[in-house]
Subunit: 149 residues, 2 copies
DNA sequence: ACTGAAAGTGTACAGTG
DNA sequence: CACTGTACACTTTCAGT
């Protein structure tokens, strides 16, 4: 499905969307048009789903990142709660998990005051949420892409 | 610090690194060279830290994503444990948090068997880790960027 | 700080093995 | 069918305002 050339291309671009086709092509012994052709195919296959710039949130005034474990108060409420959480822009990630929590979400706020407000006025008022457990990130140690091989 | 034009540019590019400068320029009443100039400045300021392609991990054979809460067995071990976790390629995110756990990490594995192996042979053998608590993602409901305004 | 035009890349496509 | 060479579109750079 993915040959070594595909993996090489993806390993570079998953870390730097701005890497030049020529550079990648040289490393893979391919013309830049050849690399481009493979990229198009990887997009068609749905392996590449998009691209994005990586921003430093703290420099934009969003200093408080936290994970919040969410407990439901009844069964069969997952879709409804997820939808309500999606409506809160500060909730930037949501996962349905095994273990103690029903959901584990990531929330990005300006500061602790902002987080308090989002938690008590928005998240904890959602119907179906029994209680929450907050883990504030003191430091994001690292975040990276999986290396293909 | 960030004016409305900067925020518009970042809102587009934080979701699609491939958006054309011309398109963005039209929306901001700026030439593509003007947009590019602002991007360069945002990079110099460290607000833009990079870019990346977004890949569908499950289509590449990585089906099991999980969060793992890590408990330390002593104080002053954070840097050492983080470094050991960084050496495991499957650990793709690591945060130092308040609350029950010392660390909350995200791990991407091929399947549950692979996760079991990483957990017992790699993570739980790290010196300073007392125990772990695993939350397997049954579904990544959503993941997105913060909207600037 | 921005524009307009020149140089350097990315993209599409007909042609090749 | 995967790839190359080429032509056009876009990004990037830079002198000029």
């Amino acid at each position: 499905m993915l040959d070594e050339t595909d993996r090489k291309i993806l390993n570079v671009l998953s870390k730097d969307a701005k890497a030049s086709l020529k550079q990648i092509g040289d490393a893979c012994f391919l013309s830049s048009a050849g690399v481009h052709l493979r990229l198009k195919k990887l997009e068609e296959q749905g392996i590449i789903t998009g691209s994005k710039y990586i921003l430093d949130h703290s420099k934009m005034g969003y200093q408080t990142q936290s994970f919040i474990g969410v407990y439901f108060d009844r069964a069969n409420i997952y879709r409804k709660v997820s939808k309500a959480l999606y409506a809160i822009p500060e909730v930037i990630e949501c996962s349905y998990t095994t273990g103690n929590f029903s959901l584990l979400i990531k929330v990005l706020c300006r500061d602790n005051k902002h987080l308090t407000e989002i938690l008590s006025n928005q998240i904890q008022t959602i119907e179906g949420i029994a209680r929450t457990e907050t883990f504030i990130c003191l430091e994001q140690t690292f975040q990276r892409e999986i290396e293909l091989n």
